[in-house]
C-alpha cells in the first residue's frame, strides 16, 4: 500500500445558483493577462448545453483521456509513438474558434465621436488582432439555455437519452436546466501530465495538485488535446500552456481557493482524501461499469489503523492524517456515497466530485402539485417522471448507470423527507423512516448530511491541511538562507520571447 494524500473537492449541484462569482474571482486573480483572456480555469456551464470549449465532452472529436488497449492504458490523442507525428500539427487540438476570440470595445470612440444626433457606440475589437470583430461566441454563450435549440440540443450527454425525452426537454413547459461549475479535477491519472512531451506537467506528491512548469513548457500542446475536460489552456501570447493551480499559494497559507472562498451558494467543499497510489493503474483499467466503484475503493479510510500505519511509513505528517480524518469530501464520497465523479469513463480518475442535482427532479410530479406521498415508495416514484432524464445525469456522473444516480437522489430525498417529518410534520414519521430504509440510510447519517449540506461553517466546508512547505525547505537548508538566495523565485518576466 502506497498511501498518498490528495486535496479533493465536492461540488453540490443542488446549491449552485449559476452566478459565476467563482469564475470572476478566479479570472481576476489568474487569467487577466494577455494571452489568457479566453482561459477560464473555473467556468460554470448550463446543462444541458455544449459547454466550454464547445462540445468538450465529445471525445470522438477531441480524443481526450485514456482508452484501454489490450491490457494497458493508452492516451487517445497522443502517445509515445504518435507524439512524433502529432508534434508538428496536433490533429485533435481545439482552436480559438472552439472557445471564442476575446474582445474589448473601442471605448475611445465614445469620447472622440463628432457631435451628432445619434449616440456614439463602442464597437467590439479583438484582443488578439486589435481589429473590429463580430462577436460570435463567448465564455457563457449558452448560459441559462440561451440558444438551446443549437446548444442544449447538441449536448453530447443526450446520446443515451431517448428521442421522446429529447423532445420533452425542448418543450417550453418542461424546460429544465442546472448549472455545472467546472475547475481542473486534479486527477489521479492525469492525461495532461502523461501526454506532456517535455515533462513540464507534474502532480505534486504531497497534495496531488497538478501544475505546469512554465519554464519547461515548450508549447507542444499535447496537454490541451489530452485533457478530456479541456482544463489546460494554451496561452497564445507567451507560448506556454496554463491551467487551474487550485490556488496553491492560497492553500499553502491556509486559505481556500478563490473560487471556493467566493462561492455564493456555498456549494463547494474541499478536503483531503487518502488513496493507494499502487492501485491507480489497476483501477483506471477497470471496465466502464466498475469505474465508479473502483475509484471509491481506491480511496482509503483515514481512520483504519492499517492505513494510518502505512501513511506514517510513507512519511505523511501526523497533521495531514488528522485533517484527512476530518475531510468533508471523504464523508460525501466514501461514507455517504452521494458524490460522483464527472465522466469517469475518461479514465483519468478525477478528484472533483459532484452531488447530482435533485431540484429539477422534484419539480415535476404526476398531478402538477407537490405530493409528499402517503407511502415511502411514492416519494421516490417521481424520479422516472423527472424533467432531467435519468440517462442524462447518468451519462455525466456514472458512465450511464442510472442505478447509481437513483441511489444518490433517493438519499437526498430521504434527507428532506425525514427533516420535513421532523420539523414541519406534514409527513408521518413512519413514512419518513420507511424512506430512510429504502434509501439505504439511517437517522444519524441523514442528520450528518443535513448538517453538512445546510448548515456548514466555513471551517467545516474547507478543511485545508497544513502544507508543511516550511519543512520542505528545511530539509535542504536554513529557510532564511533559502529566502535570501531565491528571493521571490520566478524573476524573469513571463513575456513572449524572440
Amino acid at each position: 500500500m502506497n498511501v498518498r494524500a490528495q486535496v479533493s473537492m465536492v461540488f453540490h449541484l443542488d446549491k449552485c445558483i449559476g452566478c459565476h462569482t467563482c469564475s470572476i474571482a478566479c479570472k481576476n486573480i489568474w487569467t487577466d493577462r494577455k494571452g489568457t483572456e479566453y482561459m477560464w480555469f473555473n467556468n460554470v456551464e448550463t446543462k444541458p448545453g455544449t459547454g466550454y470549449p464547445t462540445q468538450w465532452e465529445d471525445q470522438s472529436k477531441y480524443r481526450g483521456g485514456w482508452e484501454v488497449k489490450g491490457d494497458r492504458l493508452r492516451l487517445k490523442s497522443t502517445g509515445k509513438g504518435r507524439i512524433i507525428t502529432n508534434i508538428f500539427h496536433n490533429p485533435h487540438l481545439p482552436t480559438m474558434d472552439d472557445y471564442y476570440e476575446p474582445w474589448t470595445y473601442k471605448y475611445e470612440d465614445l469620447f472622440n465621436a463628432p457631435a451628432g444626433t445619434d449616440q456614439p457606440t463602442a464597437l467590439p475589437i479583438s484582443k488578439v488582432t486589435g481589429e473590429y470583430i463580430d462577436i460570435e461566441s463567448g465564455p457563457n454563450w449558452d448560459d441559462d439555455l440561451g440558444g438551446s435549440n443549437i446548444y442544449a440540443a447538441n449536448d453530447p450527454n443526450l446520446k443515451d437519452v431517448s428521442e421522446e425525452q429529447r423532445q420533452q426537454l425542448q418543450a417550453v413547459e418542461r424546460l429544465v436546466f442546472f448549472y455545472f461549475p467546472r475547475i481542473c479535477n486534479h486527477c489521479l491519472n492525469p492525461a495532461c501530465v502523461a501526454s506532456c512531451p517535455s515533462g513540464a506537467l507534474y502532480k505534486r506528491g504531497e497534495d496531488g495538485i497538478v501544475l505546469i512548469n512554465q519554464k519547461r513548457c515548450r508549447a507542444w500542446r499535447s496537454c490541451v488535446a489530452a485533457c478530456p475536460y479541456k482544463k489546460t489552456y494554451y496561452n497564445w501570447s507567451t507560448g506556454k500552456s496554463e491551467k487551474c493551480l487550485l490556488c496553491y499559494p492560497r492553500l499553502e497559507t491556509g486559505q481556500a481557493p478563490a473560487c471556493f472562498h467566493s462561492c455564493v451558494g456555498r456549494i463547494r467543499y474541499l478536503g483531503l482524501l487518502l488513496y493507494d497510489a499502487d492501485r491507480i493503474d489497476e483501477i483506471a483499467k477497470l471496465p466502464p461499469e466498475k469505474l465508479v466503484e473502483g475509484q471509491r475503493d481506491l480511496i482509503l479510510d483515514p481512520n483504519d489503523p492499517n492505513v494510518i500505519a502505512a501513511a506514517r511509513k510513507a512519511g505523511m505528517p501526523e497533521q495531514v492524517i488528522e485533517f484527512a480524518q476530518r475531510s468533508p469530501v471523504y464523508q460525501f464520497v466514501k461514507v455517504w456515497k452521494i458524490a460522483l465523479p464527472p465522466h469517469i469513463e475518461y479514465r483519468t480518475l478525477p478528484m472533483l466530485y459532484y452531488v447530482p442535482p435533485l431540484l429539477p427532479v422534484l419539480g415535476s410530479t404526476a398531478n402538477q402539485v407537490y405530493e409528499n406521498g402517503v407511502d415511502a415508495k411514492a416519494i421516490f416514484h417521481a424520479f422516472d417522471q423527472q424533467r432531467v432524464p435519468m440517462g442524462y445525469l447518468a451519462s455525466l456522473f456514472s458512465v450511464g448507470d442510472e442505478a447509481k444516480i437513483r441511489y444518490v437522489l433517493r438519499k437526498l430525498v430521504a434527507v428532506r423527507t425525514f427533516k420535513r417529518a421532523e420539523t414541519v410534520g406534514d409527513i408521518p414519521m413512519a413514512v419518513a423512516l420507511e424512506a430512510l430504509k429504502l434509501a439505504d440510510t439511517t437517522e444519524a447519517e441523514v442528520e450528518d448530511i443535513y448538517r453538512m449540506t445546510s448548515l456548514p461553517t466555513f471551517a467545516q466546508r474547507f478543511v485545508i491541511p497544513p502544507m508543511h512547505r516550511e519543512e520542505a525547505i528545511e530539509a535542504f537548508k536554513d529557510p532564511q538562507d533559502h529566502k535570501r538566495e531565491v528571493g521571490f523565485g520566478f524573476t524573469a518576466s513571463p513575456k513572449r520571447g524572440l
Binding site: 487540438l93 488582432t129 515533462g199 504531497e206 508549447a219 497564445w236 501570447s237 507560448g239 512547505r469
Partner: protein
C-alpha cells in the same frame, strides 16, 4: 596535381575568403554556444516553439508538417555527409544509388520549400497569426526561404551534391572543428555554394535570438519516461 597545389599555395587564397570561411564560422560558433546557453540559463521562460496552431489550424497543417519533415531530412542528410563522408562516397560509387539519394534530397527540398512558403503565406495573411509575429520571426522566415531556395539552386546546378559535399565540404568543416582551418577548397567553389554556406552561418548566428531554439529542447526523453510525473518537495522525486 600535387605540384599544382604547391604552386598555388604561395599565392594563397584571398583574405576575404579566409575572413568569410575561417573567421566568420568561429565567430558564429562562439555566438551560437554562448548565447544559446546564456538564454537557456537566464531566460528559460523564452524557450518555446511558439506554436500558433491554436490560432489557425488548417493552413498550419500544410505549412508546418511538410516544412518540418522536409527540413529534418535535409539536415540529417547534411549531417551524414559531414559525419561519414567516406560512407557517402562509397554509397555513391554505384550510379543507381547516387540517383536515389540525389532524387530523395531534391524531393525533400521541394517539400521543405512548399511547407515554408505555406508558413510564410499563412503568417502574412492570417490576422491572428500576424498578431503573434515578431520581427525576428520575419528575419528567420526570410533567411530560411533564401537558404532553401539557395539549396535547391545548388542541388540543380552543381551536381552531384552528396558526393562533392563529402569530398570537399566535409574536410573543410572537419578542419574547422579540429582547429586546423583550411578554407582553400571552399575558395574554388562556385558563388552559389559559397552563399549557401554563408547563409547557414547566418542562421546559426541568429539561432539563439530566435524561436529556432526550440530545436534544442525537442522532447526526446518522453519516449522512455514513465507516463506520470510526480514531484515531491521533500523526497526529491524518489517515487515515480
Amino acid at each position: 596535381m600535387y605540384s599544382l597545389l604547391q604552386t598555388a599555395a604561395p599565392a594563397g587564397p584571398l583574405p576575404i575568403n579566409d575572413l568569410l570561411f575561417v573567421v566568420v564560422p568561429y565567430v558564429v560558433l562562439a555566438v551560437f554556444f554562448s548565447m544559446t546557453i546564456w538564454r537557456y540559463v537566464k531566460e528559460k521562460f523564452s524557450y518555446s516553439s511558439y506554436s500558433s496552431q491554436f490560432l489557425e489550424n488548417q493552413h498550419q497543417f500544410w505549412g508546418s508538417v511538410p516544412w518540418h519533415y522536409g527540413i529534418l531530412a535535409l539536415v540529417a542528410g547534411h549531417l551524414i555527409g559531414f559525419l561519414v563522408p567516406r560512407g557517402v562516397l562509397w554509397w555513391n560509387s554505384v550510379p543507381a544509388r547516387l540517383y536515389i539519394i540525389e532524387g530523395a534530397a531534391l524531393i525533400f527540398g521541394i517539400i521543405t520549400l512548399i511547407g515554408l512558403i505555406n508558413l510564410i503565406v499563412r503568417r502574412a495573411t492570417n490576422p491572428r497569426v500576424r498578431a503573434v509575429t515578431s520581427k525576428m520571426d520575419v528575419v528567420v522566415l526570410v533567411l530560411l526561404l533564401l537558404q532553401v531556395i539557395g539549396g535547391l539552386w545548388v542541388a540543380l546546378t552543381a551536381r552531384w551534391g552528396s558526393s562533392w559535399f563529402a569530398a570537399v565540404l566535409a574536410p573543410y568543416l572537419w578542419s574547422l572543428f579540429t582547429f586546423q582551418p583550411d578554407a582553400s577548397a571552399v575558395a574554388q567553389l562556385p558563388w552559389s555554394i559559397k552563399l549557401h554556406i554563408l547563409g547557414a552561418y547566418a542562421i546559426f548566428a541568429l539561432f539563439p535570438f530566435t524561436r529556432l531554439v526550440h530545436v534544442l529542447v525537442v522532447p526526446n526523453h518522453y519516449l522512455w519516461r514513465r507516463f506520470q510525473v510526480v514531484m515531491w518537495n521533500k523526497r526529491a522525486s524518489k517515487a515515480e
